[in-house]
């Protein structure tokens, strides 16, 4: 057992952090929200150059075939800097889907993609006359990709900027076209209704691949939430040290200290769940679904606590759209229910712990002594 990051992984995280810190992501996010994707796509080009978009693409398709732990490291930094765009989709879920043997990506080569932004948008891949090798394009970060998976995930996030839109529904996996789009609470995000146009696989054949892809997406979003929570805590601590009221920094007041301590505790204990889920997914462990759900529950709760506390510690300035805090507050608000509700993920954890489901009703139970309820185990 070695439940620590390698030196290389630590360096990878630090390099991504430095790159994103220098990239003025808040300005790019505000441009993105205003309809100018250019600066944000520059950030994505930087991520592609650092290999982030290639992490989950297998080596035989031009990717890096990296571990899910590396994915988590990258997504934590992307969340930490509130990078706009379909990160969990482009980096995790779609590459996982397209690299599954059950998914026939050769059909994608002949796909007609009317109305979608075409290749070479970010300039990393030259568009040519030949059909594209989609995994290689994803590895190069051109295009970004997204997917919807109704009923749990009825909308595709950021389909307006994605060059590849997929739909995994009860009938199978589809290449899809976005229709009506809805604004998200996160101004950098849109949510599109989509329609399948070309079937890539039947539901039975690709069910396992879709489930695994959704686990990858949920894991990536958990890491984003963790990173966003960390950024919110850092911003709150900085503000609490500098903001003076009653003649002293507000961070010297115990009521403020204790709330921020609780935020740190939530994030610190969510973190190992994320890495354990990455290890389990990478190993195709039977507990991977449970582990991803546990990470999702803890990260969404911890990030929401971080957001709620950050707003309270900042006070009125944090409630303004002018302060950059809004970028992280709304990102957490948007990502927390994406990739499955808390109730869904809690239920999945519980189901994994209890192969026997309870079936006695509350009225039966109160009239029964404890010793006889053993007989009502629903195993049989």
């Amino acid at each position: 057992m070695d439940f620590t990051l390698s030196g290389e992984q630590e360096q990878f995280a630090a390099a991504l952090h430095d790159m994103l810190a220098d990239a003025d992501v808040p300005a790019a996010a505000r441009s993105w929200a205003a309809g100018d994707h250019g600066p944000g796509l520059d950030v994505w080009r930087g991520l592609a150059a650092a290999g982030v978009t290639a992490l989950m693409v297998p080596e035989e398709h031009g990717g890096l075939g990296a571990s899910a732990v590396d994915l988590v490291i990258a997504c934590e930094e992307i969340g930490h800097h509130a990078v706009p765009g379909p990160a969990a989709e482009s980096l995790a879920a779609v590459p996982a889907l397209l690299s599954a043997p059950a998914v026939d990506i050769s059909r994608l080569r002949y796909a007609q993609l009317p109305g979608l932004p075409q290749f070479s948008r970010t300039g990393t891949v030259k568009s040519g006359g030949e059909p594209a090798d989609w995994p290689a394009r994803l590895a190069a970060g051109d295009p970004l990709a997204t997917l919807a998976a109704p009923p749990a995930m009825p909308y595709a996030a950021d389909a307006d900027i994605a060059g590849l839109v997929l739909l995994a529904d009860p009938d199978g996996l589809w290449l899809a076209e976005p229709g009506t789009s809805h604004p998200s609470v996160d101004a950098t995000r849109t949510l599109s209704e989509i329609t399948g146009t070309l079937k890539l696989g039947d539901s039975l054949a690709i069910a396992t691949a879709v489930a695994r892809a959704l686990d990858f997406g949920a894991l990536a979003s958990a890491a984003q939430l963790l990173g966003a929570g960390r950024a919110l805590l850092t911003a709150s601590v900085c503000h609490a040290r500098e903001r003076v009221q009653f003649g002293q920094p507000v961070g010297s007041f115990q009521a403020v200290k204790h709330q921020l301590a609780d935020v740190l505790i939530g994030l610190e204990f969510a973190r190992p769940l994320v890495f354990a889920a990455a290890v389990a997914l990478a190993a195709h462990s039977p507990s991977a679904g449970r582990d991803v759900s546990a990470a999702r529950v803890a990260c969404a709760d911890a990030a929401r606590r971080a957001a709620r506390t950050a707003l309270q510690v900042h006070g009125a300035i944090g409630y303004t759209a002018e302060h950059d805090l809004v970028l992280w507050l709304t990102k957490v608000q948007a990502l927390a229910p994406a990739w499955g509700s808390q109730a869904y993920h809690r239920a999945r954890v519980l189901a994994s712990l209890t192969p026997c489901t309870p079936r006695i009703s509350r009225t039966d139970r109160t009239s029964q002594p404890a010793s006889t309820t053993d007989d009502s185990r629903a195993c049989g």
Partner: protein, 390 residues
């Protein structure tokens, strides 16, 4: 990064599990806070010690088996999964022993540790005083120089296990001119020595789980000072992490309780009650997070070449995070179980297995108070980890 147990660790786990399966009493022992229960728990500790399992992380020459922090975590997982009895010697094993290993003399270790492991000597802690609880540095009990040692006087309180224990350890003011955390000395004393009076205090559950200790010129030889006189605060704080963190309440304890909670949900849960189902899931998730946190600390300790007894992974602030986490988790977990039991949760004579939840809940309620209140821990976290102004 991986979470696989190498074959050696798996073998260690299997051996521990095998021994426990063969030796853990089938019926729970009487409460450790009764004379009869205390005696039976002492016997249990002696059996553990004979199997060299009482203090696995200690060096072999004192009765341990040089276990790594990871091995210790695995031992604890198996111990709690097997429903092992409460460790009557835990104050000594998990607080005093690490202090002696870090700051004691070789003579002290050889004299004190082996009988501690066998529970021939059960140790109580003597930190708090009537006027010094969260503010431990306000303590006033004195150690006055005398020929060949010290004379201890004053009052200590909330001393767990002191009613039936043999010896105790704590801080005493040896320099009356010094204030606060200066001029304190770390001393060990015999609870049956002349001048010692122990007054049992009944706890929330009615049992005498802790006591007041009155000292009236109790003689302690120089050999029972740990470290240098006057250096007691530093020594106590350097091992305070042991009292608060992983070693006080190991992850295995919560993992086992969370698994039992899931069983209880299967047995007594209402499938339509999604809120309660969610709380069961949350308890398991939190226990798992604490377990993984332990694995991370153990991995870091291993790569830094530190064993558990060398203080690996027990830095003060880190243990403050863990202390708040496990104590809140313990209450949430047991409250969830009581809510699953419904109206039966009130009964003191529920019998096993369900009766343990009420006892566990009452015990859990003390968690945010002892070993430094959670308010103190949150302030430590805010100031020393987050860097907020004092």
């Amino acid at each position: 990064m991986n979470l696989d147990l190498d074959p050696g660790l798996q073998q260690f786990r299997d051996e521990v599990a095998g021994w426990l399966a063969a030796h853990v009493p089938a019926a729970p022992l009487p409460s450790v806070d009764t004379a009869e229960g205390f005696a039976q728990h002492r016997e249990w500790e002696a059996r553990l010690a004979n199997a060299r399992l009482a203090a696995v992380s200690w060096p072999a020459r004192y009765g341990g088996c040089d276990a790594s922090l990871l091995e210790w975590l695995i031992f604890e997982e198996e111990y709690h999964a097997a429903n092992g009895p409460i460790r009557v010697g835990q104050n000594g094993l998990f607080v005093l022993a690490p202090t002696l290993l870090a700051h004691g003399t070789e003579e002290q270790r050889e004299r004190i540790l082996p009988p501690m492991a066998r529970a021939d000597d059960v140790w109580a802690q003597a930190w708090s005083e009537p006027g010094a609880g969260s503010d431990l540095a306000a303590l006033r009990s004195r150690a006055v120089r005398t020929d060949g040692g010290w004379l201890l006087s004053g009052a200590k309180t909330w001393s767990s296990r002191a009613v039936f224990a043999d010896r105790a350890f704590g801080l005493f003011r040896s320099d009356p001119a010094a204030e606060r955390h200066r001029g304190l000395t770390y001393l060990m004393f015999d609870l049956r020595a002349e001048g010692v009076t122990v007054r049992p205090i009944a706890q929330l559950d009615g049992e005498a789980g802790f006591a007041e200790i009155f000292l009236d010129e109790v003689f302690v030889p120089d050999g029972d000072v740990i470290g240098e006189p006057g250096d007691g605060w530093r020594i106590a704080m350097s091992s305070a992490g042991h009292e608060r963190g992983l070693s006080l309440r190991s992850p295995g304890r919560f993992m086992a309780a969370a698994e039992r909670l899931a069983d209880l949900w299967v047995r007594a849960g209402d499938p339509a009650d999604a809120a309660l189902a969610g709380r069961v899931a949350d308890a398991w998730i939190a226990a798992r997070a604490y377990q993984l946190h332990g694995y991370r600390i153990a991995s870091q300790a291993a790569s830094a070449g530190r064993g558990p007894s060398a203080g690996g992974g027990f830095a003060g602030a880190e243990s403050s995070l863990g202390k708040v986490y496990w104590s809140d988790l313990d209450i949430a977990l047991h409250q969830t179980a009581l809510d699953l039991l419904g109206t039966r949760a009130e009964l003191r004579d529920l019998g096993q297995p369900d009766g343990r939840w009420l006892d566990g809940y009452l015990f859990a309620l003390a968690g945010p108070i002892y070993a430094g209140t959670n308010e103190i821990q949150r302030s430590v976290i805010a100031e020393r980890v987050l860097g907020l102004p004092r």
